[in-house]
Symmetry: C2
Subunit: 394 residues, 2 copies
Amino acid sequence: MHNGWGAKHLVKFATSQIVSRPPRLLAVNLRHPTKQQTHVVHNFNSGPSVLPKVVFEEASRAILDFNNTGLSILEIGHRTPLFQAVMDEAVALIKELMQLSDDKEVLFLHGGASTQFFQVPMNLLPAGATAAYLDGGTWGTKAIKEARRFGQVHVLGSSADKNYSYLPHDWQVPAGMQYVHITSNNTIEGTQQHEWPNTDAPLVSDMSSDIMSRQLDFNRFDLIYAGAQKNMGAAGVNLVIINKELLGKAERDIPAMLDYRQHIANGSMLNTPPVFAVYVCMLTLRWLKQQGGIAGIEPINQAKARLLYDALERLPVFTPTVAPADRSLMNVVWVMQDPALEAAFLAECKANGMVGIKGHRSVGGFRASLYNALEMSSVEALVALMEDFARRHG
Amino acid sequence: MHNGWGAKHLVKFATSQIVSRPPRLLAVNLRHPTKQQTHVVHNFNSGPSVLPKVVFEEASRAILDFNNTGLSILEIGHRTPLFQAVMDEAVALIKELMQLSDDKEVLFLHGGASTQFFQVPMNLLPAGATAAYLDGGTWGTKAIKEARRFGQVHVLGSSADKNYSYLPHDWQVPAGMQYVHITSNNTIEGTQQHEWPNTDAPLVSDMSSDIMSRQLDFNRFDLIYAGAQKNMGAAGVNLVIINKELLGKAERDIPAMLDYRQHIANGSMLNTPPVFAVYVCMLTLRWLKQQGGIAGIEPINQAKARLLYDALERLPVFTPTVAPADRSLMNVVWVMQDPALEAAFLAECKANGMVGIKGHRSVGGFRASLYNALEMSSVEALVALMEDFARRHG
């Protein structure tokens, strides 16, 4: 673990570097041009979560008339040139935005990341062989449970002792591991992996809740998977990026729909794909490209997270739950110093149009998810409310 | 097989019984009120396929603002009351429209019907036990292939000898079968099961391409599955109706995401469900209820199919490929008497706004899919074109 690569830490950004975007109020008005609606919505949902306004607008139009065909995007055949162009563009945008090398295959699959918890070992872990897993949060724990159905698991480290409020450090990958599995970002607990191991074993990562949010050398990973419903689109499709040289070694009878090789051979259309979900991914990836890609969005994500973490550190009413070095840029988790104030703060959030701010039941307190499409103005509104609340209750 | 129940045959309907609906031209104009668009689209796609216009309109609105929340349906959390209400209504509509008894569990799952090909035997077929399958078409063949990974398969009958252009009859279910699996409607070959076996074994049916189109005693089935993208909604979600007493007998280690019991215990939200796809199902089921439910739509489906099959029988230029007793009300398949005319007829279909009319590559010729939402006027337009073409080329 000591020779980390691609390490990313929270960076302070000067105000001039913070790219501001139009407030959500404007967005809401644009959605109802005749209504003069004035309430503001700040969507801090952990997933499904906020997407860019232009994606909603384009998707809404395509449901009535996709590309001037007179047909809805919901009624076009998946084996038509109309949809093939969508799939091709989505795959090309993934490759371009993540700067993937030619040996990487890009798949859009059904089933969400939870399906990958067992599909990865089913395809990669021969019975009797061992894979190394980091137990850094709820998702990693579930992935370990599924992997044990297929082979042996070596747990590199675990932060279960403190409810996953930090990430295990100072672990090493033993020799002979079939692969190493690490959750890139823990949506529930609000931790994020900022260092990656130097290892000869293939590296597998569940990047569901921070994919496309920060620059990494994605080619150093042999398999990446991510549910779309945070930074990439709507719920109902899952991205899998795979180095196909890994496949065919598990010597196991694999159902067709679970065999990565069959999905690769069929260009993610072994059966009817989730057409609309792939389309929304394509739109979201187009938008991300217009923002300057991952390099363009990363400093904005850092600035949003910095603004909120600074407030949590500054205002004693609020207590961040995660060890500073392991904090996530995507999911910011805190509790109230006085738990009796939780209900009052939650009510004020609600009154101010802040949605999805309640913490996961396993952690309690609060969680604000700051995905790519969340506007800086939403974080500013939350911080302003926190400061005001702190003045009244501090 | 001789004591069939719920048998449904093609029935001639008097004109007065045919409920006519507004022509698609109107629908297209409504979609573009300012464009004065005049081209007509007739969507004969086999799936994803045509859905009711009101579903497109409501879904399009919900992507901008779901139920006046100021939030898109794509950005609401699946564990919110907002989405729980959608899931609850979709499940309730399934139970109501199919008149399901209380022992039936209704699930909305990922992965499409192709995932059920292996998930059914994984959950229901112990190693060494035997299940009976009817090999009546492409989907049945694929289901058999997947079942053989888990246990033994007894093939009740096969129509592979004539490219599945008919359904096997005069078969009997042997004693000791773990379950009997029958494809209700063969989308590709255009056959439909009109008789069902009397058997003590649990009855399992893939109803992907004719669910909600005809009345059956659905309680006689122990497991029904169906991809949504024909009669129920958009691609990306799969309906599973299951008698849970079947479960827990396979004595096999089943990954969480493949275990029906876990999906039942979690109300189809073991992981993030395909929110939008479930929502579109709910809208489509609401529409179906407004049409008088399955009892209301069935005679319209029969009338549409009768109109087209009558033309195929009457016009020698066209040759239906399926044995009369086994013809599908949903997917009507034919070839040209003179194959040299195929390209000309296809070009005329295209020029007249008829989409998705080309036959599946394994059958050739033509296929018109007449799902619930396809308007009678589209079938009338197709038949008018066929008559005109026959006059010129007869």
